[in-house]
């Protein structure tokens, strides 16, 4: 099998795999945020930036190539990732003490693992709204980091295209695809993939809250870097049983 080196270790890869996919499948962690194991790579958050043969590039969109030399766990790359995490925190309203995603949040877990002690930058404190119009699902736009798993899941898997990004630069924001712009006026359902893939606390199911207490959550058990295999590439999983198959698979 072909292989490339990641921080000096040989990583085997299958044809078509990206550097990030091959690394995760081999149990080697490269920090990442907008990548989702079931979706086509997107390359927008840049958390997975590595040095590949000396060039900085997002590992999630870089096709694996035999003989490639990849450096990921270096102070230079981790410093870059810390800055990206800090900017995401400073740009939105991320108030972890009251967020029910705390402990299951990828942004927070990345901050912990990278040793981000402060957002550093001037906090923007943007004025954003909450959409609690839907009976089962709510959106807190304050926490949205524009990473797009919800957009991709809603189009590629749920076939509903409920979400999209609108605007440019600092004005970019998540929009809901209905005449009123409210979630209640879409056909989104609690069982949709789009509801489950938000890495932060922006899209949440109602009446869940702190049923699993702080201290018993995913990243309380072990740091995100110790959970690489959880994000190893896997086939698309339809959110609902397929109506055309007798056994519902």
């Amino acid at each position: 099998m072909n292989s490339f080196t990641l921080d000096g270790a040989a990583i085997p890869f299958a044809p078509g795999q990206t550097v990030l996919q091959a690394a995760l499948a081999a149990g080697r962690y490269i920090p990442h945020l907008c990548y989702h194991p079931e979706f086509k790579p997107h390359g927008s958050c840049k958390l997975c930036t590595v040095k590949a043969d000396g060039h900085s590039i997002a590992a999630c969109t870089l096709p694996a190539r035999a003989g490639l030399t990849v450096e990921s766990h270096t102070e230079e790359m981790d410093a870059l990732r810390r800055t990206l995490v800090q900017m995401l925190f400073a740009e939105g309203n991320h108030f972890c003490p009251s967020c029910e995603k705390s402990g299951n949040c990828l942004l927070q877990a990345l901050g912990y693992d990278l040793g981000v002690m402060t957002a550093g930058f001037r906090h923007l404190f943007p004025d954003r709204q909450v959409d609690a119009s839907h009976p089962d699902i709510w959106i807190d736009f304050n926490r949205c980091i524009l990473c797009e798993p919800c957009v991709r899941a809603s189009c590629e898997i749920d076939a509903k295209c409920v979400f999209a990004l609108s605007g440019r630069g600092i004005d970019k924001h998540l929009v809901v695809n209905s005449e009123s712009g409210r979630l209640a006026d879409t056909n989104i359902a609690l069982t949709d993939k789009a509801v489950t893939v938000c890495p932060v606390g922006a899209i949440l199911a109602k009446r869940v809250g702190f049923a699993v207490p702080i201290g018993k959550r995913r990243f309380d058990a072990s740091p995100i870097s110790a959970q690489a295999l959880a994000d190893a590439p896997r086939p698309l999983m339809p959110a609902q049983p397929c109506a055309s198959c007798e056994d519902g698979k």
Binding site: C96, S102, G103, G111, G115, T118, H123
Partner: protein
């Protein structure tokens, strides 16, 4: 060994971080072998003198907070943003997307069920700022200890590192933002 001098205060905070400092429990005795407290709620000294370490809980929400923060910065060799509010503005900063005048009007004058005693204007009250700021937006901050509050174990790890002259490293389970 000369003891390090440590000052602490709570600005726009709830004293929860100070309560968590007491959660180092019997390790307080070890701490007191190595430090002595200057201005702090523990000593009731009113003004900060020359210190090695200043721990500041809470963000900056009024003119007095700014004055106290600057007094600490002038006197402390190392200034630590101690807890979520000092690091990010925290809970008090949740008013930042609202207009301050509208906030005061609603709370003191128009909101049903409240006393409507008028917006307090005693000259002794420090003037509120229009926004709540984390410490680093007002003065240079040397170290940050996040957490609402940071746990006793995190505070102990942080302080023992700092006192030993090391850059504090918290690691998994001790670095928390909630």
């Amino acid at each position: 060994m000369t003891k390090l001098r440590v000052a602490t205060t709570s600005l726009a905070g709830c004293f929860g971080c100070h309560a968590s400092l007491l959660d180092i429990d019997e390790r307080l005795f070890d701490l007191l072998q190595q430090v002595e407290f200057d201005r702090s709620p523990l000593t009731d000294i009113k003004h900060c003198g020359p210190c090695d370490i200043g721990l500041i809980e809470g963000g900056i929400c009024n003119a007095e907070n700014v004055e106290v923060l600057r007094e600490f910065r002038r006197n402390c060799k190392l200034l630590v943003a101690f807890g979520a509010c000092a690091v990010t503005g925290g809970l008090p900063a949740q008013r930042n997307h609202l207009d301050l005048d509208a906030c005061l009007t609603e709370v003191y004058l128009t909101e049903p069920g409240l006393a409507h005693g008028g917006i307090p204007n005693d000259p002794e009250l420090p003037l509120p700022l229009d926004k709540v700021h984390p410490l680093h937006e007002v003065v240079k901050v040397d170290y940050f200890l996040p957490g609402c509050p940071p746990s006793g174990d995190a505070i102990w790890q942080f302080l023992t590192d700092l006192i030993a002259g090391r850059t504090p490293r918290l690691g998994h389970g001790l670095i928390r933002y909630d």
